[in-house]
Point group: C2
C-alpha cells in the first residue's frame, strides 16, 4: 500500500551503480601523476560518481540543486522542541528570500535552491524558489497515531519526486537534500529507530538543543511510535512515524537514483529518509553520498546501515542542507581530477615509478 503506479514505475526503474565504471575510475586514478594512495577518500568519491553515472570519467557536477523539504509535525504537541512551531514557516520565508544559512552556503558553492512546502502548518505566501505542494498542515502526532495516511505519504513522496525531476529537467546534475521542520529530529529518530531496528534511546538526539526533560519526552514519543510499527512494511513504517518532509526527501532520493544522478545527503533527516528509500528500493543507496557528519546519533546509525561515510565533520547541526552544501566541492574535485589530471607516464615518461614503493 501507499504506493501509486507512478511510484511503482519509478521504483522499478532504479538499478544499482555500475561496478565496471567504478573499477575504470580506480584504474584511472592509479595512472595519474599522484603517489599511490595520496588522494585518500577522493578516490572512493570519484569511483562512486563513475559508478552512479555508469561512465568514467563521470560528469563533473557543475549544476547542483538543493531541495529543502519543509513541513510541520503533530508530535510537536508532546513538547519535544523548545522552538515555536511557527519558526518552520518563518524559515521557509527566509529561505525563499535568500537569507537563510543554506542560501549563503549555496551561493558559495554554486547550488540553486528550491524550497518545497510539503506540509507547513502555517500558510506562507508564494515566493521565488518556493514550490507549494502542501499535502497536509503538518503530520498527526506520531506518538499516538500514524503520522500520515497512505494517501498523504504517497503524495508527499511524489511532491519530492516532482521537485527533483523539475530540477533535473533544468539540467541539475547533483541533487542535495535539505530539510526544515520544527520537531523533525523526533520524526527522524523514529524513522531510524524503526528502519534500523534499534532502540529509541540509542537513536534519539538533542536536535537543535533541548533540556533533559524535553529529551525524555522525545525518547518516549519515539518509542511509542515505533512500538506500533515494528512489523510494518516500509510504506506503512514511513507513514506511521515519519514526517512529510522525510517522505518528500524519499522522493528526491528515488528520483535521483532513477535518473542515475548522485544525491548528496545532509544530516539526520536525510539519513532517515535514505533508510526508508533503501527499504523501498535497495539499489537507491548506491546513488547517495553523505555530506556531513551529524551530531545526532541517529545519523551515524543510518549512515552505517547504508554503508556511507560522511565527507565533512564540522560540528554543524542546522539542517537546511547546510552540511551537504559544503561537501559539493569535494564531489566536483574528485570528478575534475579524473578529467583533468595528467598521468604519471605523461609527466615523466616511462620508468619513473617510485623505486621503493
Amino acid at each position: 500500500m501507499g504506493s501509486s503506479s507512478r511510484l511503482t514505475t519509478l521504483v522499478h526503474g532504479i538499478t544499482g551503480a555500475d561496478p565496471r565504471a567504478a573499477d575504470a575510475a580506480r584504474r584511472r586514478f592509479a595512472e595519474l601523476a599522484v603517489p599511490p594512495g595520496a588522494l585518500g577518500e577522493l578516490v572512493d568519491v570519484g569511483a562512486r560518481l563513475a559508478a552512479i553515472a555508469g561512465d568514467c570519467p563521470p560528469p563533473v557536477p557543475n549544476d547542483p540543486g538543493l531541495v529543502v523539504a519543509a513541513a510541520d509535525h503533530g508530535v510537536y504537541a508532546q513538547q519535544v522542541s523548545p522552538w515555536p512551531q511557527t519558526v518552520t514557516a518563518a524559515m521557509v520565508r527566509t529561505l525563499c528570500e535568500g537569507r537563510a544559512t543554506a542560501n549563503a552556503f549555496a551561493g558559495v558553492t554554486g547550488v540553486r535552491v528550491r524550497v518545497l512546502d510539503v506540509g507547513l502548518a502555517t500558510p506562507v505566501q508564494d515566493g521565488p524558489g518556493l514550490c507549494r505542494a502542501n499535502v497536509a498542515p503538518g503530520t498527526r502526532d506520531l506518538s499516538v497515531e500514524p503520522a500520515m495516511t497512505s494517501r498523504e505519504v504517497t503524495d508527499a513522496v511524489l511532491a519530492g519526486v516532482a521537485s527533483a525531476e523539475e530540477l533535473l529537467g533544468e539540467g541539475v546534475d547533483l541533487l542535495v537534500t535539505g530539510d526544515m521542520g520544527i520537531a523533525n529530529t523526533t520524526a527522524a529518530a523514529a524513522l531510524v529507530t524503526a528502519f534500523a531496528g534499534r532502540d529509541a534511546d540509542e537513536v534519539t538526539g538533542p536536535g537543535t538543543g533541548v533540556d533533559d526533560a524535553t529529551m525524555r519526552r522525545k525518547v518516549a514519543a519515539v518509542a511509542a511510535a515505533v512500538a506500533r510499527h515494528r512489523e510494518d512494511g516500509p510504506w506503512d513504517m514511513l507513514a506511521g512515524v515519519g514526517g512529510l518532509e522525510h517522505a518528500a526527501l524519499v522522493g528526491v532520493i528515488l528520483a535521483g537514483a532513477a535518473a542515475r544522478v548522485p544525491v548528496l545527503l545532509d544530516g539526520v533527516s536525510a539519513g532517515a529518509a535514505a533508510l526508508a528509500a533503501a527499504a523501498i528500493a535497495p539499489a537507491s543507496a548506491d546513488h547517495l553520498f553523505a555530506g556531513h557528519r551529524s551530531t545526532e546519533p541517529g545519523a551515524d546509525v543510518a549512515l552505517a546501515q547504508l554503508g556511507l561515510r560522511p565527507l565533512l565533520d564540522l560540528g554543524l547541526r542546522l539542517g537546511e542542507g547546510t552540511g551537504a552544501l559544503l561537501a559539493v566541492p569535494i564531489l566536483r574535485a574528485a570528478a575534475a581530477a579524473l578529467h583533468e589530471v595528467a598521468t604519471l607516464d605523461e609527466v615523466t615518461g616511462a620508468g619513473a615509478d617510485p623505486a621503493g614503493a
Copy 2:
C-alpha cells in the same frame, strides 16, 4: 643573522589579530536565525576571519591565490624517497600546464595558481604561472651540513614574500600554500622536530610512501640534522634543516600576516613553515588556517603547537596545496553567513527565542 632589512621591516609590521572583531563576529553569529551552536566550527572560522581583517563582517575571500613553492633537497642523496628527483621539475611543468591535481582542485574552488621555482635541481622552461626565483639548485644535504646559507634562506623567504605580494597586488584576498619537492617531507620533519623540540622518530612520517629501510634512513637524517641546530635561533634553524620551498612558504605566511590577509595551510610542509614563521614573528600564527589534516605525524605536532585545527580530514597526502584548496569554500561560507544570513529577530519578530534552550 639571515634577515635582510626588507624582512626586518616586514616582520616588525606583523601584528596580532583583533580580538574585538572576533567578539563582534561571535555576537553577530549569536543573533542569526540559527539555533545556538548549530554552526559548529564555522563560528570559529568566521570569528578568526574577522579578527584577521580587523573588521566584522570580514570580507568574503572571493579571490584566493595558491603559491606552490617548489624546490629540491640535498638530503635526497640519503635515499629518503623512492621517487626520481626529476619528478619535482616534471610536476612543476605539469602545474604550469594546468594538469596537476592542484590545478583541478583550484579550478573547482576558484583559486588562481602561481608556481614558484625557488630551488629546482632540474631547470624548467618558462611557462604560464611560473615564477622563477631559483635561489640554488636544491639545498645541501641537511643530514651532513646546513641545508642553506644565510643568504640563501633570506633569498628564498624573500621569493615567497614577492610571490605573495604580487598576488595581493592583483587583488588576492586569501593566500593558500602549496609545495612540491621530492624528499621535502624529510626537511619538513626536521623543521618540526627542531622548532617543536621533539624527537625525530615522533615527527618523521612516510611521506609519499616509503619502505621500512627508507623510513629508518629518513629518521636518521632528521635526527642528525636537528642535533646540530637544537640551540640555534630561528633563522639558523630554518637554514640548517629546512628546504628552499619551506623558506619560501615562510615568506608567503609573513607577507599574508603583514597584509592581514588569511593564509590557508596545506599539509606538513606548510605546518613546518608556519612553525618557523611563528618563531620569527609570533603574531603571524593569528593569521593562519589549517585546511586539511595531514597523515604525516609532524603536521599534527606543528598544528597543535600553533593552536590550529584542520578543517578537513579526507586522507589526502599529496601536497601541491590540494587539501587546503578543498577547504577554501568553508572559509567563504563562514564569511558569507556573517554578511547574508538574517537575524532571528528579523525572521520571527521578538519573543521567538527557544522556550527551553
